[in-house]
Amino acid sequence: MQKFIFVFAALFLLGNSGYAQKLFTRDAKIKFSSDTPMEKIEGLNKSGTCVLDAATGKMEWKVLIKGFLFEKALMQEHFNENYLESSTFPNAQFKGQITNLSEINFSQDGKYTAKAGGKLTIHGVERDVNVEGTVKVSKGSVEVLSNFVVKPEDYKITIPSLVKDNIAKEIKVVVSAVLQPLKS
């Protein structure tokens, strides 16, 4: 009997594999900025979803376009209505993989450089992207950070000639997420 309890416990542990493998948050921060001499436009979303499987390196992000806040209400309306068309394409998404998983030890405190590759979907357009970022492990919490650049024209976001000097050709994006273990 005891032997079987042991087998059971071992199998169960294997299932959850010591360190909580899946990490997630619903409070991921996604910030973007468009800098031109004419105008600075910034959008911030503090309720992105991020799930990371530490065992396989699989990582997914999802953010609601309508949830981006702007300093100017009119910018927010134009962002949704004219550029990202959030009623047709409500979310932006990244589905990918940490490609240098062997260099990251999720059970040891430290700051690791991470590389990720996968598919980024914005405005209904899916593209392959490769980004670099940081994984910070401290006292059991895992923080994921990355900076990258997105070109509106790559995602079929058309900018009328009237405002082409007001919107940058390259939009800087900063994403960060403090992840918690996912209990399933």
């Binding site: 059971f8 169960f12 899946k22 209400a73 009119l74 309306e77």
Partner: protein, 304 residues
């Protein structure tokens, strides 16, 4: 037997985990239900003459300059009515995302108007389902034009007009929004005893998007007969909203020269097409425009 059962159970747990591995990571979290509010049913907070369901956002000041011109039929001599311009200059301000206020000064009859508009219901889907948006508007107007008969015992209250309006709107799709506006206009002083002090009217308005930045608006106010003098018409306006970044230009054709509620509901001078006393067909169409420019006075919270 019991042992076998345990082992089976353990394997089952294990296999479940293996299956879970294959799944989409995000779907493991389950869908978090959020409320999706309908936004931008109209481009600005006015359809043409009257209000739309939209509110000025909290902390935003909306400066509006509007013109209505004389009848287009007057031809080149009056530059198709442009020489007979009336103007309204106004400021709207969003106190919260639900409550906005505004003041304006109209050249026509030297009317000063002030209003408050409150969003009662917001159309939404998702966690909270609401098929329509509903707002209430109260608007007061003071006519500061000199009294026609200075000898008469003129009271200040005779200058006052009030409007109560419910705005019921639904954004049917990305490109189509419709609105119904049951309205009550109260006039403290009316020209003759035959006219009602309280005038009930029903407005209907709509918007359809032509391109991302250009929309077609229609607004009609129907006043059931017997309330106002038969010399007045119902106001019908058709216009385009053109958005250019910071400004919204509303260019329209209308048959009213007034931008105050009591003006365009109870005193619209002519129909779009009518026969004059001699039986000649004439048109009461006038050109007009509203220009709106917004300024962010108070930055929204939650940006850091």
């Amino acid at each position: 037997m019991k042992r076998h059962f345990l082992l089976l159970f353990a394997l089952l747990l294990c296999s479940q985990w293996l299956v879970a591995q294959e799944e989409d990571l995000l779907s493991m979290l389950g869908e978090e239900k959020t409320t999706d509010y309908a936004t931008a049913s109209f481009k600005t907070n006015r359809i043409i003459n009257g209000h739309s369901i939209e509110n000025t956002a909290a902390g935003v000041l909306d400066f509006k300059i509007s013109h209505r011109f004389g009848p287009v039929r007057q031809g080149v001599y009056d530059m198709f009515g442009l020489d007979a311009a009336t103007i309204r200059i106004g400021f709207d301000y969003g106190i919260t995302d639900r409550l906005m206020i505004g003041v304006g000064r109209n050249g026509n009859e030297k009317i000063i108007d002030g209003f408050a508009k409150y969003r009662i219901l917001r159309q939404s889907t998702g966690k909270r389902n609401m098929p329509i948006s509903l707002s209430y508007l109260i608007d007061g107007q003071i006519k500061t034009l000199k009294f026609s008969d200075a000898e008469r015992d003129n009271k200040f209250t005779s200058r006052l007009y009030y409007t109560h309006q419910l705005l019921l709107a639904r954004k049917f799709s990305k490109g189509l929004s419709l609105q119904l506006m049951p309205t009550l206009v109260h006039r403290n002083l009316v020209p003759t005893r035959d006219e009602n002090n309280d005038v009930l009217a029903i407005g209907i308005g709509g918007r359809t998007k032509l391109t991302k930045r250009v929309a077609l608006n229609v607004e009609y106010y129907y006043v059931p007969e017997g309330q106002i003098s038969t010399t007045y018409a119902n106001s019908l306006s058709i216009g385009f909203d053109i958005e250019t970044g910071g400004h919204v230009f509303q260019l329209h054709f209308t048959n009213t020269n007034a931008m105050s509620y009591k003006g365009f509901i109870t005193e619209t001078p002519e129909d779009w097409f009518f026969k004059n006393d001699e039986g000649r067909m004439l048109s009461g169409i006038r050109f007009g425009f509203n220009v709106s420019r917004v300024f962010t006075v108070k930055k929204p919270k939650g940006l850091e």
